[in-house]
Amino acid sequence: MEMILRAVAIYLILLVVFKIAGRRALLQMTSFDLILLLIISEATQQALLGEDFSVTGAMLTIITLVVIDMLFGVAKKYISGAESMLDGSPVILVVHGELQNDKLKKVDVSCDDILVSARQNHGIYQLEKIKYAILERNGHISIIPEESES
């Protein structure tokens, strides 16, 4: 029973911490982010398994984590607003080259983040040439260029 409670507790703690950190946390994956991710996984592993190195213990932990994830998936599908609250909703950050500053502040995304995505995916380096920039649920920024330019 302890293994299952540990897995549930760690899942919920990670859910809350990464909700606080924001959807773009660890997304850009700099070399430091990679190291941070490894350290977090190491700390999590110790708390999940404790002194138990059995195959059964690992199996119980994996099954518990997958089942909780599936339950959250079901909740997101059938409970209105659950997906938006857990994963956030898409946010339009730029409309016809105009920054939506209030939204940028709320999702903690800078103009530079948008321009990086525009450069990487579309070779756009001017804000005016962006028709829409949308922050997706997974933290990526989708860029839709102005039609006249494409």
């Binding site: 938006s84 909703s89 939506q100």
Partner: protein, 170 residues
């Protein structure tokens, strides 16, 4: 808040939610404060060693003092220091009871007792050659095996004992 809605034209396939955006913003803002509070609490010793955790307790006659940590974590070693100031009797029989035996595992005792046994759920340590008129100290290194609050009772020979509580985080 109103202009957020006004400035957001409907885009096919993009369902924006003002409530979700506000929730995300508040979660990050207040959540960050919560995380800072947790770190501050940890630094001040609310989760293990620190100002609020380190404690010393003496018995009624000041013939026994125990230094311990009020807060510990499951399976993380904790030190217990038992001092008998200026004791003048030998042999010394140290009894550690309460829920100690049931909730913790004793990893090491220093100095090693001449005799050690359990009696009625208490750990009994006997030191035959304790020097008189000097402070005599025993260190116990233990590992909590169950989470929650528990009370430990310590007594020496037939002198008045003392009890103290510890809280172990899961």
């Amino acid at each position: 808040m109103a202009n957020v809605k006004e400035k957001s034209p409907p885009l096919p396939g993009v369902k924006q939610s003002h409530a979700a955006l506000q929730f995300e913003y508040n979660a990050r803002r207040f959540g960050f404060i919560l995380l800072l509070l947790i770190i501050t609490a940890a630094l001040s010793g609310l989760f293990s060693g620190g100002y609020f955790s380190d404690a010393t307790k003496n018995n009624a006659g000041n013939s026994l003092a125990v230094e311990y940590q009020r807060f510990g974590r499951l399976l993380s070693p904790v030190e217990l220091k038992i001092t008998l100031p200026g004791q003048n009797s030998a042999p010394l029989t140290l009894r550690i009871g309460g829920e100690y035996m049931a909730r913790t595992q004793t990893d090491n005792i220093w100095p090693q007792p001449d005799e050690m046994h359990s009696e009625g759920g208490e750990l009994v340590l006997v030191y035959q050659a304790a020097k008189t008129h000097n402070d005599f100290t025993v260190w116990l290194y233990t590992t909590p095996e169950q989470p929650g609050k528990f009370v430990t009772r310590v007594s020496v020979n037939n002198q008045p004992g003392l009890s103290f509580w510890q809280f172990i985080y899961p």
